[in-house]
């Protein structure tokens, strides 16, 4: 048996080396299966890594490794004086991929752009419901239906977007995967063949990699797009080996069965650092974990009480005990890697004595409260139950009696948005597009405090919301920065949340991998990676 196994391994190892030598094959041990390959109807990062990023492009793109917007399929653009008209000049000579049933007869043009947006925005568009039950949740949740008045073709290489009101984050919004440009010519061909759903099964895009095949829950294969308009990928084949368990992903990485993996377990970080065949990239994540008080219920409607509670909780202990040190304490609701982060803001110090005195001064004694601990693990919060326990302990030292409550995830999300909610909620957020508005307006504006929003502090501060609104309609980034900086000062002063931490992201890879660029948005893209011989 021993002999046989060695034989088997020898055969496969040999085969692997020859295969890798002939064509550069890069294997990514991805964490889950994509929901589909049409980038617009889905919302998970896993799906974007498998469809939007490798296969497609957008009018604007995020500059590698940043959240800065740069030209993509649009070479340049002009914004009208009042900020409601965006005219995009499209790049010429961009080729769509081909597959065994489709070969494009024309280059990318304005028809593709109009098609890609109208199918999402117009409920009567013939492609809006090309698969029964399909919806465009990202398009909807970025408020695009209310924002976009029309998308028009001016000529083959010019497209004009008219908005209902000015919106500074618009250029960042359309750099997101849901706004990927699909081929109208391919859609027409599929419609003629009566296989519309193949837009989601066998995608055609303009991106750095061409889709080859997907075996459900197992493997996705891509090939380099030799005609790519940007810098061509350095690897020939890209393979996603779907591996849901993080310990198994690490074993595969160590065994050389893949070159790079996402989301290592915090407990494995030390062993990864100690392994010579591996290296570990890290960067601060574009996220925040927080505890949101219900600011509409006494005594939490008093900012001084909220501040006192914030001072009673030892964040450093949470970062060590829950994040295993892989995070930095948060003082603002947006992370330090985001533009307009106000570093001048002073965090409330950890000072149980002062906290106790403040509570007494406000007449709050024998306070009893609930702490909601979410039942799932998220990059911004690895273990909410443990965090809640540490908070409970800290609060007991200032005479506050805290009980921990939890619900099933779906229940948790809905119950925590019920207006009279009892207690403070642990939750967090990961940015979609790097715009501060995507944190502040979504999580803390007056609008988001209504039913269906995500403002779990129910905090509505007119001054704060006005600043956000001003910033939203201002296109000058320096001016927007000032407005957001002011907003952060108000936030700190009013303390609707305890800002807990911004967690660090880690990406382990084999040492022969070069050129991988971590994305602050948490995307995994491979057009720049290379393998040493």
């Amino acid at each position: 048996m021993k002999y046989l196994s060695h034989g088997l391994l020898a055969v496969s190892a040999l085969a692997l080396t020859t295969a890798f030598a002939e064509a550069k094959t890069f294997v990514y041990c991805s964490e889950a299966s994509p929901e589909g390959f049409d980038p617009s109807p889905y919302t998970s990062g896993t799906t974007f890594d498998a469809s939007g990023h490798p296969i497609y492009n957008r009018l604007t793109e995020f500059k590698k490794g940043t959240t800065e917007v740069e030209p993509g399929l649009a070479e340049s653009w002009e914004v009208s004086e009042d900020g409601t008209e965006y005219t995009f000049k499209l790049r010429q000579g961009v080729k769509f991929h081909s597959n065994d049933r489709f070969t494009p007869t024309r280059d990318f043009n304005a028809d593709d752009v109009v098609f890609s947006f109208q199918r999402q925005g117009d409920p009567n568009h013939p492609w809006h419901q090309y698969i029964p039950g399909i919806t465009y949740e990202y398009y909807t949740s970025m408020d695009m239906p209310n924002l976009v008045k029309s998308v028009e073709k001016v000529d083959d290489y010019t497209v004009k977007f008219t908005l209902n009101q000015p919106e500074a984050p618009f250029l960042a919004n359309i750099a997101m995967p849901f706004a990927s440009i699909v081929s109208k010519e391919y859609a027409d061909a599929l419609e003629a063949a009566g296989t519309k759903e193949d837009l989601n099964n066998t995608p055609i895009g303009t991106g750095p990699f061409r889709f080859v095949a997907y075996q459900k829950d197992a493997v996705i294969r891509y090939q380099k797009n030799a005609d790519y308009w940007g810098e061509a990928p350095k690897i020939d084949d890209l393979i996603f080996a779907i591996t849901p368990d993080s310990s198994v992903r690490l074993q595969k990485l160590k065994a050389g069965e893949c070159h790079l993996m996402p989301y290592p377990s915090p407990a494995d970080l030390e062993s990864i650092k100690a392994d010579d065949s591996l290296k570990l990239d890290e960067q601060p994540g574009l996220n925040v974990g927080y505890l949101a008080y219900n600011t509409t219920v006494a005594p939490f409607d008093n900012p001084k009480v909220r501040k006192a509670l914030n001072m009673a909780i030892n964040k450093e202990a949470i970062i060590q005990g829950v994040f295993q040190g892989a995070a930095e304490p948060a003082k603002n609701p947006i992370p330090p890697t985001m533009w307009s982060y106000n570093d001048a803001v002073q965090d409330d110090p950890y000072d149980p004595e002062a906290a106790k005195a403040m509570l007494e001064a406000e007449g709050v004694t024998n306070l009893s409260m609930n702490i909601w601990a979410m039942p799932v693990q998220r990059p911004y919060m690895p273990n909410a139950r443990r965090t809640a326990e540490l908070m409970q302990e800290d609060l007991s030292k200032v005479g506050v009696n805290a009980q921990i409550v939890s619900y099933e995830w779906g229940e948790y999300l809905s119950k925590s948005m019920e207006p009279g909610r009892d207690g403070a909620v642990i939750l967090g957020w990961t940015g979609d597009n790097g715009d501060p508005d995507n944190f502040l307006s979504v999580l803390l504006s007056c609008d988001s405090a209504k039913e269906g929003g995500a403002n779990r502090a129910f905090w509505c501060n007119e001054e704060f919301s006005d600043l956000l609104q001003q910033a939203k309609v201002t296109s000058d980034q320096a001016e927007r920065t000032k407005l957001y900086e002011q907003a952060q000062v108000i936030f700190k002063d009013q303390a609707p949340w305890l800002t807990i931490a911004h967690s660090t992201q880690y990406v382990p890879m084999r040492s022969e991998v070069s050129g991988f660029v971590m994305s602050p948005l948490g995307d995994f893209t491979f057009e720049t990676v290379d393998l040493a011989e």
């Binding site: 294969r221 995830w409 779906g410």
Partner: protein, 335 residues
């Protein structure tokens, strides 16, 4: 024999109806709303929530939803996944062969090792072999599968480097799926080394999945053999001077096999349960992992129709087990 078969088949109808209710009810009893889970931290406005619920048919009374489900079922429509929007049957058929391949290998390992070990332990009752094998069986039976799988991966794949960590075949092999069974497809592909690669990928997961059934089968075989060995006809056969091998192989084993076959049949359910964890650890693209993912996303159509398909399959296996009895024991056929 035909009447026996017909009566068994008649029983299947009420059982099947019962299963539709359980399958339909199970996922709805769980708290959590698929629309909210889709929206996540961002939240969804009440209007949008109502719109989406209506689109998915969740606004109707539950009883109506059940009859809709049943009605479509009778037309052979198992519904579409809420997540991937693809027909449940298409997804099931794509993943099912992987689970069958793994399950068959596991049950084969469990039977081929479990039965002989049980027989030997019974014959050599009280010996060191009996002691060791029955203690191991107890340990195997109590093994947490997830931990066991990870342990084997770390030792055999990580430390010794004998077997691949996970997956069904080395990624360098790429050929179209014909049957969905990797062992067969790799042979058909004619690519050199593909079959051995598929076999090497199958070893660890099948051993892990076989662990609990193997323990159960070995213990069941041993106790059935011990019981039969004490019967009069075995003593008579021995007294007649029949060779020991023939007494054990023909007289004892055949009778002892009746409860053992039942046990093996019952292990199918255990296999499905074990497949959920085994498939997750070994990144095995089968129906176990698919069900778990769908339950956590509250993908109602997949869970209800998936459970139904799995239950239907278990029913067919049980029917086959009943028929096998008939072959082993003519008395059952007659009654």
């Amino acid at each position: 024999m035909v009447r026996f078969l017909l009566s068994k088949l008649l029983y299947l109808i009420p059982t099947f109806l019962g299963i539709t209710i359980v399958a339909f009810g199970f996922v709805r009893i769980l708290p959590g709303d698929p629309v909210l889970l889709m929206a996540g931290e961002r939240g969804v406005s009440p209007e949008r929530h109502a719109e989406l619920s209506a689109q998915l048919g969740f606004d109707k009374p539950v009883v109506m939803q059940y009859f809709d489900f049943l009605g479509r079922l009778l037309q052979g429509d198992l519904g579409n996944s809420l997540v991937t929007k693809k027909p449940v049957l298409t997804e099931f058929l794509a993943l099912f062969p992987a689970t069958v391949e793994l399950g068959l290998c596991a049950i084969l390992i469990a039977t081929l090792i479990g039965v002989p070990v049980g027989v030997l332990a019974a014959i050599k009752r009280g010996s060191w072999f009996d002691q060791i094998s029955m203690t191991s069986a107890l340990v195997g039976f109590s093994m947490p599968i997830f931990w066991w799988g990870l342990l084997l991966i770390i030792f055999f794949s990580g430390f010794l480097g004998w077997t691949p960590v996970s997956g069904r075949i080395s990624l360098m092999y790429y050929f179209p799926q014909v049957t969905g069974f990797m062992l067969i497809d790799s042979l058909i592909s004619g690519q050199e080394g593909a079959f051995t690669s598929a076999v090497s990928h199958l070893i660890l997961p099948s051993v892990v999945l076989a662990t609990i059934p193997l323990a159960v089968i070995a213990r069941q075989t041993r106790s059935a053999m011990l019981e039969v060995m004490g019967e009069d006809y075995v003593r008579t056969a021995r007294a007649k001077g029949m060779p020991r091998r023939r007494v054990i192989g023909v007289h004892a084993l055949r009778n002892a096999m009746i409860p053992v076959v039942t046990t093996i049949g019952l292990q199918i359910g255990v296999l499905i349960a074990g497949a959920i964890l085994t498939e997750t650890i070994f990144s095995w693209p089968g129906i176990g992992k698919w069900m778990i993912d769908s339950i956590s996303r509250r993908d109602y159509p997949v869970v209800q129709s998936g459970l139904l398909l799995i239950a239907g399959m278990v029913m067919v296996v049980n029917l086959l087990v009943d028929l096998t009895y008939g072959l082993i024991n003519p008395r059952i056929r007659a009654s």
